[in-house]
């Protein structure tokens, strides 16, 4: 086979792979939106479900999802970024760093239901938090922590060494260099990790069923149980309660993730444009 033919074949194969991936994504999102969007209106978003979810809206689940996710991200982001800074900037490659990295990688590969079980035993039972926003948020925080650590560490390591050296050469301490040069430079990558964490939290079912509960009531405090949208969707579909309502919920879920991503990257664009 001539080199030219191999080249053309490669281009075709690579292009087809890209096309297939794009088509699959469009198909899934399109299918959910096509079935779900007609169900969504203001009432669907802002009223409580009726008859176990056969009718009415999903307001308590929207609130529950936002609360559990916000809590998880608010806990996991600072913890994850600080761990990543420590691993990337404050230690030399050694046994402890490799152990940390191995633990992070292993943690990232654990099925979510195991985190659910752990959260159930620790937060729900042992610490007496019960099925609650707090238990669910803490469990999800542990679950997304490795994702945030890994992406943040990679982003931090990708910041040019020359920037650090300039900062040190101008009399910067390690902490000044980290906060003024390294973290701002790593911000896009860190944000990507946080967004992955948001998506995982919003879409998680197994871990939250075991820790946040399945109630349809509106939560009044962090110690109240909630049914997140993903869990609501799962129960509606699994128990054949209402496929229309299930699709509606799924569509809101997808729009929420898209919306959060859009806002986050828009903000990032504004920050980096100002910084130059």
């Amino acid at each position: 086979m001539s080199k030219d033919r191999a080249d053309r074949l490669a281009i075709t194969a690579l292009g087809l792979s890209g096309l297939l991936t794009g088509a699959l994504l469009t198909l899934i999102v399109g299918h959910v939106l096509a079935r779900g969007l007609p169900v969504i209106d203001a009432a669907f978003l802002l009223t409580a479900p009726e008859r176990m979810g056969r009718a009415g809206g999903i307001f308590p689940s929207v609130v529950g999802t936002l609360a559990v996710t916000a809590l998880a991200v608010a806990i996991a982001t600072p913890l994850g970024v600080m761990t990543a800074v420590y691993l990337a900037e404050y230690t030399r490659e050694g046994f402890f760093v490799r152990l940390c990295r191995f633990a992070t990688a292993a943690l990232a590969g654990i099925p979510s239901i195991i985190f659910g079980l752990f959260g159930f035993v620790l937060f729900v039972i042992r610490l007496g938090l019960g099925w609650s926003v707090l238990s669910g948020g803490l469990t999800l925080a542990i679950m997304i922590l490795p994702i945030i650590i890994r992406t943040a560490e990679e982003a931090i390591r990708a910041v040019p060494r020359s920037w650090r050296e300039i900062s040190y050469a101008l009399g910067g301490t390690r902490w000044q260099t980290v906060t003024r040069v390294v973290l701002p430079g790593a911000l896009p990558g860190v944000l990507t990790g946080v967004m992955l964490g948001v998506a995982r939290s919003v879409g998680e079912t197994a871990a939250v069923i075991l820790t946040a509960g399945t109630t349809l009531r509106l939560p009044r405090s962090p110690l109240d149980p909630v049914r997140t949208m993903a869990v609501h969707f799962f129960i509606l579909a699994r128990e054949g309660i209402s496929m229309d309502q299930a699709y509606g919920t799924a569509a809101v879920l997808i729009l929420l993730i898209l919306g959060v991503n859009f806002v986050a990257y828009w903000l990032l664009g504004r920050i980096t444009a100002r910084r130059g």
Binding site: I166, Y168, A169, L170, V181, G276
Partner: protein
């Protein structure tokens, strides 16, 4: 007798098992412009990085010998590298602005040192940019991202960034290696003007630049300081055949 600002005594440096410098000794007087020339890989950059202790950042290195700044050993116990680096500024080979505006690049060092008052900073930034012969070109663009400047402007910005620290010594690591001839001449002109007010050590792999700039010239070859002396003597009457080969373009 002229006071020696920078004294290097028997400096050796090792990266693991690789030896980069062999008992290098020399002195630079206050306000003097010294040029260290030598081919790539001769240890010039390592030498500079020892003087502001940037080599501390590497793991698995070893150093022997002393470096005195105003008579004090900069490696003595209790000497803070951060304080030292505020007195010994460095300009790197590749012009690299920090991802900040022109203004914030110049103000970066003073802010780290805690000088953050607006009026004081404004004056310091303007003064530093003027001293680096850049003010007229960027006066209206202080808020623009620094990476939009040309390569030559970026390197003068790097010099302004160092001047804003009001250092005693300025180290320059092949500062014109990536620049066109016109930008190179501008930088050299600028450095000649700064000599006298600052003690300058410049490293270059270009013997002609050393001849144009240097009052005092040192030839570093494979980690050995082969020759040092006034520029006129080193270039017209080198003592070592290796120096002769380098300045005539047969090596390097």
């Amino acid at each position: 007798m002229r006071q020696h600002r920078l004294v290097v005594e028997g400096l050796s440096f090792y990266y693991g098992a690789v030896r980069a410098l062999y008992r290098v000794s020399f002195k630079v007087g206050a306000g003097e412009l010294a040029v260290v020339m030598g081919p790539t890989g001769s240890g010039k950059t390592t030498l500079l990085r020892c003087v502001n202790r940037l080599c501390d950042l590497h793991g698995r290195t070893r150093r022997e010998g002393r470096i005195l700044l105003d008579g004090r050993d900069i490696y003595a116990a209790g000497t803070c590298p951060t304080t030292l680096r505020r007195r010994v500024g460095m300009v790197f080979a590749v012009p690299t602005p920090l991802p900040l505006s022109v203004y914030d690049n110049v103000a970066y060092g003073p802010r780290l040192a805690g000088r953050g008052r607006r009026q004081e900073l404004d004056a310091l930034v303007e003064e530093s940019l003027r001293a680096a012969a850049l003010w007229d070109e960027v006066a209206g663009r202080l808020r623009e991202p620094a990476f939009r400047l040309s390569g030559g402007q970026q390197q003068r910005l790097a010099i302004a960034r160092v001047l804003a620290m009001r250092p005693e010594v300025i180290l320059l690591d092949e500062p014109t290696s990536g620049l066109d001839p016109v930008s190179t001449l501008r930088i050299e002109e600028l450095l000649r003007g700064l000599a006298g007010s600052y003690t300058i050590v410049l490293v270059t792999n270009n013997p002609r630049q050393a001849a144009r700039l240097g009052a005092k010239v040192l030839f570093l070859y494979l980690g050995h300081l082969v020759e040092q002396g006034p520029a006129r003597q080193v270039f017209s009457n080198p003592r070592d055949p290796r120096t002769q080969d380098f300045i005539s373009g047969r090596v390097g």
